[in-house]
Every structure is written in C-alpha cells, then in structure tokens.
C-alpha cells in the first residue's frame, strides 16, 4: 500500500485531535485529544522512517511515547488538583483570569 496514505491518515488524526482540543470542554478529554495529535505525529514519523529506510523517525516515535507518558503524569496531576479544588474538570470554568 502506498505509504503516503499513512501520512494522510496521520494528517486526519492530527486534525481530529486538534479540533477535539478546540471543541471539548473536559480537561481530560482535551488532553486525550492532544495525545491523539501526538500519536498522529508518531504515525507520520514511522511512515516517513519507512519511506526513507532509516530509523531516526522510529526512534523519535519512541521518545514521543515516553514524553507523552511524562505529560500524562504531569497533566493528570495538574488536572486532578484543579478538579479537587473546583469539583469540575471543565476548562471553561477555569477562567478567573481574563482581559
């Protein structure tokens, strides 16, 4: 199958993730959408890696997973504290600071 299709898929996933970030209110979901975007990146990286026949992309993909994991840790920590103090994980409720 033409490797370019993987790229299209990756682009679509990325777009979905991005739109999710823009649309969804729940911080957790928003964050998951970000993760989706990262995975889209991974997909494209791997695809390119295969096209070019070298491993750099795949290595970076691994790193990305690690980073994503780390982000989950940090992110969840923050979101949970927010939730515990506000009893809501909606990003829109967190708008004390404006203007």
């Amino acid at each position: 199958m033409n490797p370019v299709n993987y790229l299209y898929l990756a682009a679509v996933l990325f777009a979905i993730g991005a739109s999710g970030v823009l649309i969804r209110r729940n911080a957790i979901v928003v964050f998951m959408c970000v993760e989706l975007m990262l995975n889209a990146c991974n997909l494209s990286l791997v695809a390119f890696s295969r096209m070019h026949g070298n491993l750099d992309g795949q290595i970076l993909a691994f790193f990305t997973m690690v980073v994503a994991a780390a982000e989950v840790v940090v992110g969840l920590a923050i979101i949970v504290t927010l939730f515990r103090s506000r009893h809501s994980a909606s990003v829109d409720d967190a708008s004390l600071m404006k203007l």
């Binding site: 991005a18 970030v21 823009l22 649309i23 209110r25 928003v30 990003v91 829109d92 967190a94 708008s95 004390l96 600071m97 404006k98 203007l99």
Partner: protein, 635 residues
C-alpha cells in the same frame, strides 16, 4: 577738554539722574527732585557750551561726532554707539534740555504733594536721556533705541498715576500705537541694511542722495519712516493715543506730548530728507498725512471741553503743519523745524498754564466749569494769553513767523496741489484761532461756573507758586520773541541749511497777499469764537451739539473704529485661537492617545480567559503561518 567728547555728557547727566533716582530708594525722597532738576540743568549747560563752541566754528565743520564703542559686531553687520552733533541735533538739544529743565522746575511745585515724586523725576530724567539719544544718534539703529526709550518714558509717565485705570489704559494704548509706528521704523532699517549694507546716517543719506538705488526702494523706506513718524507724532492714522495721553501729569503733557517727543517724527523725516527728496511719492504721502492731521486735530480741538484734550488736539494740528512742511522738501524743512521750536515754547507754556489752572481748581479739567479766572491767577493769565497769541499767529509773535512761512511754502508747492495745501493750511489757521479763542474765553473770561469737586469742597483759585510761574514766564518770553529772532534775515534758515538744505519757495501769489489772508482768517476765527462763547454765557453741561461736534468730541469716531476693528476683532481672534489650540492642536494628540487606549480596550477583550479560545487563536495562527509561508513561495 575736547568738545566732541562732551556729547556723551549730554546724555550721561540725565541718565545718571534716572539711575540714581530709580534705584536710590526712599532715602532720596526728600532731595530727589532737586537732583533730577540739577542734572537736567547740567545737561542744558553742556548743551549751551557745545552751542557756543559750534557758533565759534564756520558752517562746514560744525558737525561733531563721537564714537563710543562698537555695539553689535556681527559678520557683515556693524552697529556702533556713536553720536553726531550737527545744527539740527543742536537745535533739538537746546530745546529738549532747555524746556526740559524748565519743566523739571515747574514739576517741583506741581508734584509737591505726590509721594512718588522721586520716581516722577527719575522718569523725567530717563525721558531726557532717551530723547537726547534719539537726536544725537549717528545711525538709525541707535536712533531706534532712543525712539523706543522715549516711548517707554512716555508710557511710564502717562501711567504715572497707575491707580487710575484710565491712566494705565492710556499708557498701554500709547505704547502699543507707538509700537505700530516702531514696526515701520524697524522695517525701514531692515530695508536700509539690505539696500545699503549699513544704517549709519552718512552713507545711507549720501547714497540715496546720489541715487545709487531704485526710487521704489527709497519710496518704501520713506513710507516706513513716515509710519514711524505717524506713531510718534500722533499723525493720522496713529493719532488716537495722544488725546488719552493727557491722563498723565500736566508737566508730562507739556514736555513730552507737546514740546519734544511728539516732534520726533518731524526730526526723523527732516533727518532723512535725502531719502524723501529722492522719493516724491513718499513726500506726497507725508504732505497728505500732514494736511489731514492738521485739520483733524483742529476739528477735534474745537469740540473738546477738557482743556488738556483741547490743547492736545491743537498739538496734533500744529505737528500736522510741521509734517506737511517736511513733506514739501527743502523749501519746508527749515520752517518745519522753526515751527517746531516756537511751538515747543508756546505749547509748553500753554500746557503749563493749563496745569496751573488745574492746580488752582482742584484738578478740574472741564473748561465749562472754569470762567473768569483772569482776576484770580494773573500771571497764568498773562503767560497763557501770550502763548495764545503766539499760537494763533498774532502778527509779530513766534507762531506768526513760523506758521506764515509754512503757509507760503504750501502755496509755493505750485499747481493745484499748491492751492489745495495752501487752502488747507489757511483753514487750519482759522480753526486754530477759533478753538484757542474758545479755550481762552471759556477759561479766563465770562462769569464763574465753578463747581465743587467730588469731595464737595469748592475750588479756591489762586496763583501758583514761583517754581511754577517762573518757567511759564520764561516760556512766554520764548513764545513772544523766538519767531522774530529766527526770522531776522533768515538766521534760522542759514543756521540749518548745511544740514537740511534750504531753498526759497516761489508762491504763485505774493507773500504779502498770503500774509493778509492769514491774518484775515485768524480774525474770522476769533470773531466766530467770540460770538459763540464771548457774547452769551457758556452752559455748564455741554449742549448736544451738531453731528460734527459730537463726532469731534469722540475724536471723529476714529477711536471707536479702532476699538471695533482691532480690539474686538483681536479679542475674538485670540479667544478662537485659544480654543483651536486646546481642541485642535492638543486634541489631535490627545485624540490619538485616546484612540490607542480604546483600541487597547477592545483588543484586551480577546483575552477572555477561556483556554479553548486561546487554542483557537493558536490554531488560526498556525494556519495563517502555514498559509503565509506557502504563499511566499507561490509569489
């Protein structure tokens, strides 16, 4: 000591007096007036010494000059503090210092009860210094200094009684109107500099006599000088200040606004004769101004009930004679100056007389409240009477000689112009006779019309102290004999000729006819006045009078015109400009600031606190970034 170096002394003496008196402080209050008088006298003495010395020389090298120091040395521009004393200046020096000294003396008595007398004498000395600088300067710029100096002195003296708003206003008005004239003088100097590269009398006059430059330039210079003269000498259209200037103490009116300062314009034109001779158009303008003012002043003089204002009108008119004469060129200069000197005597005398009268009448100035004073102040009556005869040109007295010559010269102009001018001057003579007789009758003859003044104490007219009468007497002598003396085989003309040049005018009709005509019109004037004011009693409150009279009382409405046009208009202009400055000029800036602020307010709304909208902006930004990058490649 070398006489040339004494010129500076003329100015130094009164200047010293001014400095001492003005900076001296209270400790001089009791002696100040004598110091001032002495220094004025000293200046006069120096003048006499120089005069005798000058008589000792023969005509060509009578011009002395003294160079003190280089004043404004700038690349391509040389202004020196240097003096030139020739016959013309000499005449003025004697007049100024002589009359000045007398009036200092007079003021000692007149200002006796004024607590600011010391300052008064300081100002008087300052005036003398400035006036002498004016007539002794050897270049126009230095003359300009004196010119404005006398303006300042007159400002200070007119407004001497500053607690009277009217006085303060009059002083301001005088200075401002004069400034307009000064503008003319400064522009004239600018023109001279660009034309001749200098403004010293010698080179400028010689060059313009030699016709080195176009007549147009000279005409321009001449007109500007005329403007200056109009300002200083209260000639139409800048005459309006003189009447108000009578707010000043009477000695001031006598010295500054009758005898000396107001004649500075005549001096200026005579001094610049070479320029005017080469610019007939300018001369014509001079003549016209003179003629108009001559009549204007006379008419105003006829209508005023305030004795000083009446005399002021007469001053205007008399100076009109002089200006007219200077406009006639070499046939006129001499007589202009001659009339100037005689006028200096009798008009000063008249004013002092008026002052004496006021002194006796609780400073009442309205002639309708005088009457029958001749018994009560004989000396004043006598001296005033002589001055009166002199000014109306009673045969044999000073005024007769000088004025008659001017009338002749006017006729001598020839052609219609000559006839017109002659007629005007004759008419002026008639009017002079009329209004002076009116003053005389209303003041000294008829029954008493005295009124108690504001405080309600009735006047007790009495003769003034010696310090006042003596100067009056001296001046009376001058007004009787000076004219005759000058006319003895044209001694005066001969004396001035080297400076101003002199040629005999040839009137179309014989001098005798003119003389008789003069005398007849004079008699007519007197008669008319007698009929109106001598035969029937004078009403205490002025009758409504004819339209002309009412207009004349208001200075022929010329003042009202100024008021409407300049004062009102000016006020509106400045007010609107203040508004413009605040709203427009300032507004633009503040407006920009405000609009930036508003923009800021609107933009900050974008920061609405919602993380997702931030994300949107990022996303949009990214899209734009990408699009732009691709676009860059596309184009």
């Amino acid at each position: 000591m070398n006489t040339e170096n004494m010129i500076a002394l003329l100015i130094a003496a009164p200047l010293l007096g001014a400095v001492v008196l003005l900076c001296g402080g209270r400790r001089l209050d009791r002696t100040g007036h004598w110091i001032g008088t002495l220094l004025a006298a000293a200046s006069f003495v120096v003048g006499v010494v120089l005069f005798t010395d000058m008589l000792g020389r023969d005509a060509e090298d009578r011009t002395l000059s003294q160079h003190l120091f280089s004043w404004i040395p700038v690349e391509g521009f040389q202004a020196d503090v240097a003096f030139q004393l020739d016959q013309l200046s000499m005449t003025f020096v004697l007049l100024i210092t002589g009359v000045g000294t007398l009036i200092h003396l007079y003021s000692v008595g007149y200002m006796e009860h004024d607590e600011r007398r010391r300052r008064f004498f300081g100002f008087l000395n300052l005036f003398l210094a400035a006036m002498l600088l004016l007539v002794l300067a050897d270049n126009y710029l230095l003359l300009y200094v004196g010119w404005e100096g006398v303006g300042l002195a007159s400002y200070l003296l007119i407004g001497f009684w500053q607690h009277k708003p009217s006085a303060a206003t009059a002083a301001k008005k005088a200075f401002l109107v004069n400034r307009v004239g000064d503008m003319g003088l400064s522009i004239a100097i600018l023109l001279m500099f660009t034309t001749f590269g200098t403004f010293a009398f010698g080179p400028v006059l010689s060059a313009s006599a030699a016709g080195d430059t176009s007549e147009g330039k000279l005409t321009a210079i001449g007109l500007m000088l005329l403007l200056a003269a109009c300002g200083k000498s209260a000639q139409v259209p800048l005459q309006s200040w003189l009447g108000d200037a009578m707010e000043g103490p009477t000695p001031v009116s006598a010295l500054i606004h009758a005898a000396t300062m107001v004649t500075a314009g005549v001096y200026l034109i005579t001094r610049s004769g070479a320029i005017f001779n080469a610019a007939p158009d300018a001369q014509l303008a001079v003549v016209v101004v003179g003629a108009v003012t001559l009549l204007f002043g006379a008419i105003v003089g006829c209508a005023k009930d305030d004795i000083k204002k009446a005399l002021a009108g007469s001053t205007m008119s008399q100076i009109g004679y002089m200006i007219l004469a200077t406009g006639l060129g070499p046939i006129g200069y001499v007589f202009a100056i001659m009339h100037l000197v005689t006028h200096g005597f009798f008009k000063a005398g008249l004013f002092l007389g008026a002052g004496s009268v006021m002194h006796g009448m609780n400073d009442e100035v309205d002639m309708r409240k005088y009457g029958g004073l001749r018994k009560y102040m004989p000396v004043t009556f006598a001296t005033f009477g002589l001055g009166y005869l002199a000014i109306i040109g009673f045969p044999g007295l000073s005024g007769f000689w000088s004025k008659d010559k001017i009338i002749e010269a006017a006729f001598a102009q020839g052609g219609t112009e000559g006839w017109i001018l002659g007629a005007v001057t004759l008419l002026g003579a008639a009017l002079t006779a009329y209004y002076m007789t009116r003053v005389m009758l209303m003041t000294f003859f008829g029954e008493k019309r005295w009124q108690p003044d504001a405080e309600g104490n009735a006047p007790h007219p009495h003769e003034s102290p010696k310090s006042m009468t003596i100067p009056m007497i001296v001046l009376a002598f001058g007004s009787v004999f000076a004219g005759g003396l000058f006319s003895l085989n044209e001694s005066f003309a001969g004396w001035l000729e080297p400076v101003t040049a002199f040629e005999h005018g040839h009137p179309p009709i014989s001098a005798g006819v003119i003389m008789t005509a003069t005398i007849t019109v004079m008699v007519l004037g007197i008669g008319l006045a007698y009929v109106q004011y001598g035969r029937r009693p004078v009403p205490v409150t002025a009758p409504r009078g004819s339209l002309l009279t009412r207009a004349a009382r208001r200075d022929l409405l010329q003042d009202d015109l100024n008021h409407v046009v300049l004062v009102r208009g000016g006020e509106h202009l400045t007010r609107s400009l203040v508004y413009v400055d605040h709203t427009l000029v300032d507004g633009v800036v503040n407006g920009t600031a405000a609009s930036v602020g508003g923009l800021s307010g609107r933009l900050r709304k974008l920061q609405n606190g919602f993380a997702r909208s931030y994300a949107v902006s990022m996303f949009g930004g990214a899209a734009v970034l990408i699009a732009a990058t691709l676009l860059m490649r596309a184009v």
